[in-house]
Amino acid sequence: MEIHHQRRGTTLLVTMKGELDLLTAPIFRAQVDQELETFERLSSLILDLGKVDFIDSSGLGAILGRYKRIRQRGGKLLLVNAQPQVQKILELSGLDKIMPLFPNAERALEHL
């Protein structure tokens, strides 16, 4: 699991690579939460899942946790670039209903 993040105004853009599961979800959680604590003006989160080739309910749980934090700030969490099997799991879980999916970060940014 590799995680890169980048601030764009009040939005945090996070790109993940690898597998998001019980072992790696805490790394994702810690890294995003650290940014959110350090930069209080951050109100929205865009997660680029293009290079996430595996996710399970532990990974989804970590994403949902970030969604709740972002909601408390009145912002949005948008998902970008999910591969078919990741998209299927998002749909099965119903998370796609609260976190819309976009084909790329630019389209997601327009939506904020």
């Binding site: 019980l22 399970d56 309910s57 099997q85 879980s93």
Partner: protein, 147 residues
């Protein structure tokens, strides 16, 4: 019931690093059958959930042994995951979507995903006596000769 063409049995401690190890191992073993890549991904998710449950729930904050068995039949893969942990009070309840005993952290979707992705899921569990999760996935397009 016909005999398995191939089988394996594995033991490892309930550590988070073994979740990826176990799901990859099962997928590699399963690839002896004619599963599609999508089906192998589904087998990986199901295994990942079942193993994660042994890490999170079965042994509390401690670590215990997990036993994983796979059997290859001409038409299906059978996967069985056994722990000797705390067991499940009410299996029917555990299978309900969003039911979890750790609501702060967990989504209660692990068993739901297994149910969705495998053709058969059966759970045997008694409080204090551990849990056995049995999963079956059928090959949709079996190879002519089991080659």
């Amino acid at each position: 019931m016909s005999a398995a063409q191939n089988h394996m049995r594995m033991e490892f401690p309930s550590l988070p690093e073994n979740v990826a190890f176990a799901r990859t191992t099962v997928a590699v073993f399963a690839s002896q059958l004619d599963f599609t890549l999508d089906e192998l991904d589904e087998i990986k998710v199901a295994t990942s959930e079942a193993v994660s449950n042994t890490v999170i729930h079965a042994y509390g904050k401690g670590t215990g042994t997990v036993t994983l068995c796979c059997q290859i039949f001409p038409d299906r893969l059978e996967v069985e995951l056994v722990d000797e942990g705390i067991g499940i009070e009410d299996v029917d309840k555990a299978l309900e979507p969003a039911y979890t005993t750790v609501p702060e952290e967990r989504m209660g979707l692990g068993l739901v995903f297994i149910n969705e992705y495998m053709d058969v899921l059966s759970i045997e569990s008694k409080p204090g006596q551990g849990t056995k999760v049995h999963m079956v996935k059928y090959v949709k397009a079996p190879k002519p000769d089991g080659v």
